[in-house]
């Protein structure tokens, strides 16, 4: 039986002027469990806290009710005071007789009666409180970043600079991501490689950063502060330690027919290859699907020509298991496939390209060495039509949607950039941009777009392309609407550039399952709170960086990467995590194993296992739920979905809330 002391605060005159505090402390003495009751001018003051201490000592209190202001104000204060006096801090309940009573009622008798009722409710709840201990778990001081694009690199650098170890897992043979493929960046038109490659080098050289390229996360277990992750390092077939990156192997490789992923298929590469000159690590990889040695058993030329004996056909995939305190998803994006958009003749004509292909065609390190020419005949284009919103902002109608419902956010700006680059390279060229809206919120963004129109003479036309006809002889006829002038245009173009919508990288879906992190209907990771916790996943210890959370440009990505890093650093800086003890727990003897709670838990904190349950001596093999207390945030969704009442919420148990109900409805 809890021995309860009740302390009624005057809050100066804030409470005492409207509530008869003496009457309250007197009346509450009759409540079950109450062994002591008093009132005091300011309970939150040192004097008030001292009163709690002395009453605990004098009356052997095991629970404390403070009738005062909102618990949102001073619950923490009184819990601390109770703990100082030797009472379990979770054996403290607050009756809110200021905000909910004295401040809103004028009639003293009425307010006093309500204050007594609220005090009784608090006492009733406290009678059913049990001492709780906040769980503490140690923190592994290492972070895992999944994805080695600009988002992942930035997060890794920021976390590593704070002195924590970071591992970066990248599925392709090099870090750098999509940004490495870009030519110039908006709104400054500085070269992407010039600002990215130093960061790549920093990441590789950083003593706290370990890069796992050509690798994938295979398994994740554990929880915030204590994740265990299996990373599969795919066999590169080249020893990273021995290889000097001389490139002789690629040069001599007889199988040169694979499409270069890095160059968007605009160039062919050898079976043993380095994706691009500044790749990190600068070590080739053998694409076993196109390698003659692996396909036919014959060849082996690269092994013969390698001066440092780095080629190793016998290499096998390797799984390494490591511990992490925090995980950052930075899986990025890709442009959507345009197979279903053939009204733009994308699959018919090589001169209809995506924006990312256009980047490669402009890039000095690209397949044309920066000489912007048509892929079909190598001629310089004179008239280029840019189509925005290809597959973005769609809605389903009579059939399923071909594209995505959201705005891809970056296309307006890069299209302006592309048009400017074209006009800069070929001053006698014509650039037409078809737009639905031009969306340029961002620092110096609208100015940039206006510069394209005003200084570079790019023709911006409000309207949409309805059909691109490949007329043969290298001519493309573009039929489009011009809504401002209400006419249909037929433009003879040399090239058409399609601003394809972006979508999350396909690897994100599987990763979300591994991390029990939730996703929206578009497969973007969901944030813990759309406004207030934008870089955290609802799953504790999992953070989000870059495009995997939603479309964003480089400045936003870098900002979010830094923010995610700050959250990771905040987590790793703690030696132990103090959890919330007011979490759900499962009474296994009552659990039906129905999985309903698992379905409503937003944190993936509930899992099921089949185990032997002992109920009053009887043993039974059952499927039962168990709550991971480190993940549970204590919302209580599971408790209501559980018909048998096996799930309950500590600190807010069903019986406690019913006791409060009984008290206030008396």
């Amino acid at each position: 039986m809890t021995k309860i002391g009740v302390f009624v605060c005057w809050c100066g005159s804030n409470i005492a002027a409207t509530v008869d505090v003496d009457a309250v402390s007197e009346a509450i003495k009759a409540a079950p469990g109450v062994v002591f009751a008093t009132n005091y001018q300011y309970m939150c003051s040192e004097g008030g806290q001292a009163a709690i201490r002395s009453a605990v000592a004098e009356h052997g209190l095991t629970g404390v009710v403070v009738c005062s202001c909102s618990p949102r104000m001073h619950e923490a204060t009184f819990r601390k005071a109770a703990a100082g006096a030797g009472v379990n801090p979770y054996m403290v309940e607050i009756a809110n007789i200021r905000e909910q009573c004295s401040w809103i009622h004028k009639d003293k008798a009425e307010a006093t009666a309500k204050a007594i009722a609220l005090a009784r409710a608090a006492v009733a709840k406290l009678n059913l409180d049990r001492p709780l201990t906040a769980p503490e778990t140690p923190v592994t001081k290492r972070a895992l970043v999944i994805g080695g694009g600009i988002a992942g690199i930035q997060t890794a650098l920021d976390v590593a600079d704070a002195g924590y170890e970071v591992d970066v897992v990248e599925k392709s043979p090099t870090i750098g991501g999509k940004m490495a493929m870009l030519d110039k960046t908006f709104p400054t038109l500085d070269c992407a490689a010039c600002i990215l490659t130093p960061k790549m080098v920093d990441a590789a050289a950083h003593e706290k950063i370990t890069l796992y390229t050509y690798s994938e996360v295979e398994k994740v277990s554990g929880f915030v502060g204590n994740f265990t992750v299996d990373i599969k390092k795919r066999a590169r077939s080249v020893s990273v330690d021995r290889c000097t990156g001389c490139g002789v192997c690629s040069e001599k490789c007889p199988s040169k027919r694979a499409k270069s992923e890095f160059d968007q298929g605009l160039r062919e590469r050898s079976a043993i290859y380095i994706p691009f000159a500044q790749a990190i690590p600068n070590v080739p990889v053998i694409d076993r699907d196109t390698c003659l040695k692996f396909q036919t058993g014959k060849c082996g030329l690269c092994e013969k020509v390698c001066p440092s004996h780095a080629v190793d056909y016998s290499q096998e995939d390797e799984v390494i298991t490591k511990q992490y305190g925090a995980i950052v998803a930075a899986t990025g994006f890709k442009p959507i496939g345009l197979e279903r958009f053939d009204e733009y003749a994308y699959s018919r004509s090589p001169d209809v390209v995506t924006s990312l292909e256009f980047e490669r065609l402009c890039n000095a390190a690209g397949p044309t060495k920066g000489h912007l020419v048509r892929p079909s005949d190598g001629k310089e284009p004179k008239t280029v039509v840019f189509v925005q919103c290809v597959g973005s902002r769609e809605a389903s109608g009579i059939g399923a949607m071909k594209g995505k419902p959201y705005c891809s956010k970056i296309c307006c700006m890069y299209t302006a950039k592309h048009a400017m680059l074209l006009r800069e390279k070929y001053p006698d060229s014509e650039a037409y941009v078809f737009y639905i809206d031009v969306r340029t919120p961002g620092k110096n963004f609208d100015e940039f777009y206006r510069r394209a129109a005003e200084e570079y003479g790019v023709h911006y036309i409000k309207g949409m392309v309805g059909k691109v006809c490949d007329e043969g002889n290298g001519r493309l006829t573009v039929r489009a609407s011009d809504l401002i002038e209400n006419r249909q245009l037929l433009i003879d173009a040399d090239m058409v550039v399609l601003a394809a919508a972006v979508e999350p990288d396909p690897s994100a879906r599987a990763l979300a399952t591994l991390l029990t992190a939730s996703m929206d209907t578009n497969d973007f990771f969901t944030e813990a709170h759309p406004k207030l916790r934008p870089v955290e996943s609802p799953t504790a210890g999992v953070f989000l960086s870059g495009m995997c959370q939603g479309p964003k440009d480089i400045p936003d990505t870098v900002a979010q990467a830094g923010a995610a890093a700050a959250k990771v650093i905040g987590l790793l800086s703690k030696d132990r995590l103090v959890g919330n003890p007011c979490v759900a727990s499962c009474d296994e003897t009552l659990c039906n194993g129905c999985s309903a709670c698992e379905r409503v838990c937003p944190y993936g904190a509930i899992s099921y296992e089949t185990k032997t349950v002992v109920d009053r001596g009887a043993k039974d093999e059952r499927r039962v739920a168990s709550v991971n207390e480190a993940l549970c945030q204590g919302c209580g969704a599971c408790t209501v979905t559980c018909p048998s009442g096996a799930m309950d919420l500590r600190g807010f148990t069903g019986r406690q809330i019913m006791a409060e109900v009984d008290a206030i409805c008396r």
Binding site: F341, D342, R348, I398, G399, V468, E471, G472
Partner: protein, 283 residues
């Protein structure tokens, strides 16, 4: 392989032989085609207005007849195919339409879109297989550069028609290759020929059809082939004006199979002035 067959008015018209040609070609490929006992006009245009029921009834009757026979319903004319397939989809998916139509038609068992509607081309590709067609070809059209013309109704809306990519189709090219000719790809192959306007606004129909023919010619086609009788008429009458032969693709198929039919072309009717079959002529 057995199919119920809905010929439709145009292909059944006295002088229009392409229907029979197609059926004999199917026979030569081992497909058994049974014409529905009694059929009425499909309705000619799909009633876009959602509340129109009466105009859907005849299509539903054909569908029910095919269901009774327990066979998929084969169509050839693009318009018939379009109308019947879309009405069938309405019957399967729109409970309002389904209930109202069933209460009109009152079949013994309510009809709910059970019949599978198959276009002649679809039948060749999915049931016979273009490979088998190629094997049966005795008189390949070697050296011919044939431009397939799809038109509008065969492919669109793709969510309803659903047997080929609406913007980059390949089914007719597949057949053209199977009969030994060389398919020609050109951008106007799935743009409307304007046939519907041929009565109301001949000028517009001419402009559209000429554009189609021009595009095919520019891409080096020797001839155009289509399966839609309306396109066949319009392209011949209003588009080609003698500059380019326009054929019924099923007739080309029949010839390749050695059935020796005269490739019917253009206006299905005989010219009333000089009895010449191809009306794309001056008399």
């Amino acid at each position: 392989m057995k199919f119920s067959y809905f010929p439709g008015c145009t292909l059944k018209a006295e002088a229009g032989r392409s229907g029979e040609t197609a059926i004999s070609a199917a026979g030569a490929l081992g497909v058994e085609v049974t014409e529905l006992d009694q059929w009425q006009c499909c309705g000619a245009v799909y009633p876009l207005a959602r509340d129109e029921i009466a105009t859907k009834l005849s299509a539903v009757r054909a569908l029910i007849d095919a269901k009774r026979a327990g066979l998929p319903l084969l169509t050839l004319c693009s318009a018939c195919h379009h109308v019947i397939k879309r009405v069938n989809r309405d019957m399967a998916e729109d409970s309002d339409v389904r209930d109202r139509v069933n209460s009109y038609v009152a079949p013994e068992v309510p009809y709910g879109g059970e019949t599978k509607v198959v276009h002649f081309l679809e039948m060749l590709r999915d049931h016979v297989g273009f490979d088998s067609v190629a094997k049966r070809v005795t008189a390949p059209l070697a050296g011919q550069r044939v431009a397939a013309y799809y038109g509008c109704m065969l492919l669109r809306p793709s969510s309803a028609m659903g047997f080929d990519d609406p913007e980059n189709p390949s089914i007719m090219e597949g057949l053209i290759a199977a009969i030994g000719a060389e398919p020609v790809l050109y951008p106007q192959r799935n743009e409307c020929c304007g046939g519907y306007l041929a009565i109301e606004n001949k000028g517009a129909a001419k402009r559209r059809a000429s554009e189609v023919v021009r595009s095919a010619a520019e891409h080096g086609a020797d001839c155009i082939a289509t399966t839609c009788p309306l396109c066949l008429y319009n392209l011949t009458e209003n588009g080609a004006a003698g500059t380019m032969p326009v054929y019924d693709l099923t007739a080309l198929l029949a010839n390749a199979l050695g059935l020796h039919v005269e490739p019917s072309s253009g206006c299905a009717a005989v010219c009333s002035v000089c009895s010449e079959r191809n009306s794309a002529h001056a008399c």
